[in-house]
Subunit: 300 residues, 2 copies
């Protein structure tokens, strides 16, 4: 058995998961007090949106931070939160320029998110780790407990939007979030154009449907590439797969985001691309997606 | 609680996980008989290599199937196996042209892998699912049990190599495999060149080190792109990150694989690219990586 709790949690005041919950019982193993706290915290957040995918590496975190930045920039400054629910590979802090920060404890034992540009409030496992090398070698039940604590014990405050970045697949973390936030507005599903990715994204759609969570829509990421030297349009990972899956399974299609090397540079430098490259085709494509999500949420 | 076991397992004779193991106890919760069976099965396989990553979508499955094909093509026909240990997003069957196949039961209740080209023996959760849409909504302990069954209850036979494709991160599946196969030869770590991916790959390296598993080396995938129209060299996801991480953490660097749209087409059509595009720079780069892995394993 690997127990890295001491290493992971020593630098903060976060309560470490204390018991050994059994398989599916974790949501119910929370104390009544914790359940009430979670309900109360979540009731102060108007809209909760999870970003999921079937396969990893399709750009979920990139989509999450750019959705957060887009909403924050468009009239919701200080009213947007991001929960990075990827326990093993938390990327959100780096993408928002918040590496090295820690969650801040209040006098009464509460914890506050780290606040970035446009007042975006971020909670991530990364803020609890001593360094980049430290892995979180945890089985599912511990991951469920930490997500529960992230939702119930963090002072998120009054927010208009909480975007939740989930790890790929349909295991512990996505299941935990859906069960812990029964009034979630819906999920945004990110996929790549390739058929291999499409096959897996269908599982994510069925997952949402089986749990009764609305599918806000599918985004096809890394869709096509324009050579910056000669202007040739190249389909590196093919194109059109996201729309086909959306039609096949009768869920809304939100649009496609072309490959743009500037996105990788922006992500690495901690700046959401929507806040920088305002004239690029990628930013325009993303703006159309944001508009569709607003229509779904009935917000401006 | 979501219980999709019936749907997932109804089409085969596989024994469904029967009990509710507690958190970290799963490896020890196996019966003595099952442990002996696993040990016996694994003793007939000369080399066991796991392919891991920090982040998802870096091309782990592509690397796995091409390693398997490369070894099978180079004198080990009928002697190579692939365990697809990605329970939520199994991609290996599609990449090897084995979609729609099922595990085959023997008269005495044993199960056999599906055999593909060059006699590659494949076991995947995909062979147990009724269709692509069916998600596996399982928490960690169930995933551990199925991996245990894949190793102990499948008639793998005498193999020279077993390549194990693991989902990203350092959670239940990788931990289970490392604990269940204590004599594993080592792990091949796949990363992308971007800094975001590098930060997470360090966790995978530390994970292997903490578990005492040798790191065979790091592969930098999707490293650079040559425009097929004008020949311009473009670093879509940047380049050089894999080598830097290898140097930083003192582990071997196996080489880089450039982006090649043909790989995506091959993966979707079920053909390992090493078996097709024999003159491309990608295949040459991969051949050098295979040579280094052979040197590590001391095989020809």
């Amino acid at each position: 058995m690997i127990n890295t709790e001491k290493a992971e949690l020593k630098d903060c005041e976060f309560k470490k998961p204390s018991s050994t919950p059994t398989e599916h019982a974790a949501p119910n193993s929370a104390t009544t007090e914790q359940k009430q706290r979670l309900k109360m915290k979540m009731s102060k957040i108007k809209h909760k949106i999870a970003i999921i995918s079937g396969k990893g590496g399709v750009g979920k975190s990139t989509v999450t931070v750019n959705l957060a930045a887009a909403f924050a920039l468009e009239g919701h400054t200080d009213k947007v939160g991001v929960l990075d629910a990827d326990i093993h590979g938390p990327c959100v802090p780096k993408m928002l320029g918040l590496k090295g920060h820690k969650l801040i404890g209040g006098p009464d034992g509460t914890l506050f998110p780290v606040t970035g540009k446009q007042g975006i409030k971020v909670v991530s496992m990364d803020f609890l780790l001593p360094n980049d090398e430290a892995p979180v070698i945890w089985r599912g039940p511990l991951k469920m407990r930490i997500i529960q604590q992230f939702l119930a014990d963090i002072t998120w405050g009054d927010l208009d939007f909480l975007f939740i970045d989930l790890p790929p697949g349909t295991g512990d973390e996505p299941l935990s979030v859906m069960q812990l936030i029964p009034d979630i507005d819906g999920v945004v599903i990110v996929t790549m154009p390739s058929e291999v990715s499409q096959a897996v994204v269908k599982k994510a759609i069925t997952f949402a449907k089986q749990l009764g969570v609305p599918v806000i829509g599918i985004i096809e990421n890394m869709s096509g590439f324009v050579c910056p030297e000669c202007g040739a349009k190249l389909d590196i990972f093919k194109t059109g797969g996201g729309k086909r899956v959306a039609e096949d399974l009768s869920v809304p299609y939100l649009g496609k985001i072309p490959i743009d090397p500037a996105i990788c540079v922006d992500s690495d430098s901690g700046t959401p691309f929507v806040a920088e490259n305002r004239t690029s085709p990628t930013v325009k494509a993303f703006a159309e997606i944001v508009t569709k999500i607003k229509q779904f949420l009935k917000v401006t």
